[in-house]
Amino acid sequence: MNRALIRTEGLCKYFFRSSGLLQRREIVIKAADAVDVTARTGETLALVGESGSGKTTLGKTMIRIYKPTKGKIWFNEEDISSIGGARLKKHRQYMQMVFQDPTSALNPRKTVVDIVGLPLKIHQSSSRAACRARVRELLEMVELPADFLYRYPHALSGGQKQRVGVARALALNPLLIVLDEPTSALDVSVQAKLLALLEQLRGQFKLTYIYISHDLGVVRNISDRTVVMYLGQIMEAAPTAELFKQPLHPYTKALLSAIPIISDEEQDIIPEEITLNGEIPSPLDVPPGCRFISRCQEKTSICKSKEPRLIEIDNDHYVKCHQCFSSSQQTPEEVATQCP
């Protein structure tokens, strides 16, 4: 097992919304609530969940686009949760992000060379010529022709825009890239090409990916480990192959059974037909006890009174559900809690 590149300890990100004339901090949205998660060097860690599950917030907080409310982030054994100024700027070049909406992520008034060259300009203050040469190199890496240098984003297709976004993320030779649903705006034929490119780049530059997605089909194929999130917390975490073979949490099972699949072979993987009650509750009023309780079909009395802990139930397989323990021999107290 590789060592941890980035690790969080009780990471929280709350958004405060002021209400009333006096600008009092009253409403708290707990977008990420005490999350322990680790991405190991060279792996692809997938964060999955519905919209509103806090996966994007967690990704952005981990690389310090957002300032964490509580908790620690260890990047290469250095706590970056509260650093600022020059130290933060130094760390920023190791951690990059590719955004979901390729149109919004590229400034429509700038050409490709300026967009991709921006990190170089900020961090290395390289000359124009050196910058252009490097951008040319980067475009080649993401398999775009060199004459794209002076194009504006509106002249590019969705897949090409996303490649430009990837080139920008690669510019400073980062160690970690957070990919926030990079293919959700793309067609499947384009998606497959982009995913292949990302996989190739990961091998070539020894990158670590945190891949945020709601598409379990994609996650199954590109990630080493998968973390399932619900209302700002981890529900289940396991090596991807294991998770798809043996999903334990009712939420994971429900997500799997909701995927519109295209072949009978896939049907065998899907556990059983599970339909969730209702929709994801607002993060403003998280139910007490287990936060999945309002939609769970396997709930019992204990789920309402006590919040389950995230516990390692099998080698590297963590789950946060009372029902999973009653079925296994171990009781929660016997198993040591550790971060996944």
Binding site: L88, F99, S104
Partner: protein, 290 residues
């Protein structure tokens, strides 16, 4: 390798012309403005009696109606009205340019700061802006000119003084919406400075709405300038300012109709020109933003 479009696309100029062609009125507006600018630049050469623009006096030819010699007639001291209207275009255009230059120069950065930095900066700037916006511009301009000495430059200052809050509000609104775009977050996450993000990332994205507003406002600023001149608070005679000309001719109405009419027409056509052009530009950019 990703494929490139094989077909060569038309250039930006061709595209702009195609869009403009769909809205013929904006082309009319554009022509009016271009002709006005040309007249203003070439005033000394095309005006039949350049000397009449200032304080020349020809008592022999007072109050002559329009004729071949004086197409717009002559005024109470015998000056050629056509020459004076032609020179007036210089003053009106200059007034518009100066007012908007100051208004944009002051209002735009304030709006950017308020929108991007938020918090206390935002509260302070936007509350002051709101106070200014609560007073009708002409009334405020009147109040300012009443305090100062009456001349053209002070009237420009007064108009600019009432004009900048509109640009603050425009820039503020645009900044708030552009701030949410991911490319701003990218620059922030890379550690770009706030100044860079405000002026190099956000500002270029508001040029189209800015351009439309400036064009429309040119007309209004000229109108307000003329109004101040008409009320005697702007340029003073014998400066051939259009508003002043209308005001001076007013006492000889309706018999000597040519004194006020031609200056008034000049105001009308110029304001109309800027309005048509502004409307055309708005349609033009609306399409482009998509």
């Amino acid at each position: 390798m990703e494929q490139v479009l094989r077909r060569k696309q038309k250039g930006n100029l061709a595209r702009a012309f195609y869009r403009f062609k769909k809205n013929p009125l904006s082309l009319v507006g554009l022509s009016i403005i271009l002709v006005m600018i040309l007249i203003a630049i070439l005033a000394p050469f095309i005006a039949p009696y350049p000397g009449d623009s200032a304080g020349a006096v020809h008592f022999k030819q007072m109050f002559q109606p329009p004729s071949w010699k004086h197409p717009f007639g002559t005024d109470e001291v015998g000056r050629d009205v056509l020459s004076r209207v032609i020179f007036g275009s210089r003053i009106s255009l200059m007034l518009g340019v100066v007012v908007l230059f100051v208004a944009v120069g002051v209002g735009l950065p304030l709006g950017l700061f308020a929108g991007y930095l938020g918090g206390k900066v935002e509260s302070v700037i936007m509350r002051i802006t709101d106070i200014f916006l609560a007073i009708p511009p002409l009334v405020l301009a009147l109040a300012v000119t009443a305090v100062l000495e009456r001349n053209l430059y002070n009237s420009m200052f007064a108009i600019a003084f009432t004009w900048w809050p509109w640009y603050t509000r425009l820039a503020y609104g645009e900044t708030l919406s552009k701030k949410e775009e991911d490319f701003v977050e990218v620059s922030e996450s890379l550690g770009a400075s706030r100044t860079y993000i405000m002026f190099r990332e956000i500002l270029p994205n508001m040029t189209s709405s800015l351009l439309v507003k400036i064009t429309l406002d040119m007309g209004y600023a000229i109108l307000v300038g003329a109004a101040l001149g008409f009320l005697g608070l702007g340029a003073q005679p014998p400066t051939p300012e259009w508003g002043t000309l209308v005001s001076l001719g007013r006492i000889h109405l309706p018999k000597m109709w040519w004194l006020s009419t031609f200056a008034g027409l000049a105001i009308f056509i110029t304001v109309l020109g800027f309005n048509l052009l502004g409307d055309g530009l708005r349609d033009f950019f609306d399409v482009e933003v998509e």
